[in-house]
Symmetry: C2
Subunit: 100 residues, 2 copies
């Protein structure tokens, strides 16, 4: 868990929004076509629509968030689903509380 790297992710409004949206996928995204739950998160296309940014930009953002271990990807056929990594998010908040 790298505090600097995670803070860098959180220094961008869109990336923070993505993390917040993923907290309540059923409220923030339409249902998926292939499955009827959000257990593995949300596909990239839906996240892209919500941000209004280009596909490559959103993919880059999700990649940086994955590198920081803030999200976990899962393949479902053609789609990649992203969900929050609650353990790392919690560890980050705890680290700030204790060390900062």
């Amino acid at each position: 868990m790298n505090v600097i790297e995670i803070s860098k992710v959180l220094s961008n409004k869109t990336r923070v929004n993505i993390l917040k949206w993923l907290k309540n996928p059923e409220v923030n995204f339409p249902p998926h076509q292939d499955i009827d739950h959000f257990d593995d998160g949300v596909c990239v296309g839906y996240i892209q629509d919500k941000t209004g940014l280009s596909q490559s930009t959103v993919s880059t953002y999700l990649n940086s968030m994955q590198n920081a271990d803030l999200v976990i990807p899962t393949r479902h056929g053609k789609w990649t689903y992203y969900r929050r990594n609650e353990a790392v998010i919690q560890a980050y908040v705890d680290a700030l509380k204790n060390e900062l």
Copy 2:
């Protein structure tokens, strides 16, 4: 209290270090010449020495931290002392815990 702006400050190792050092000034800095306490924080010169960066860079960093309300400056004669703004730091951690 701006989460994005504060996260931007925290995305740099030196700036995080400055905040941490200011938590225990008596441990991390030599005593001041004019006063015998750290109630108003630490003068810029001491912080600069500790970072090893140039005077202008440290001043820029402290300015960005002040803009984010993470530190509070106080003039003492020729010196400007910087101390942590514990209320805002606390509010930031709480906001992350609740909103993130």
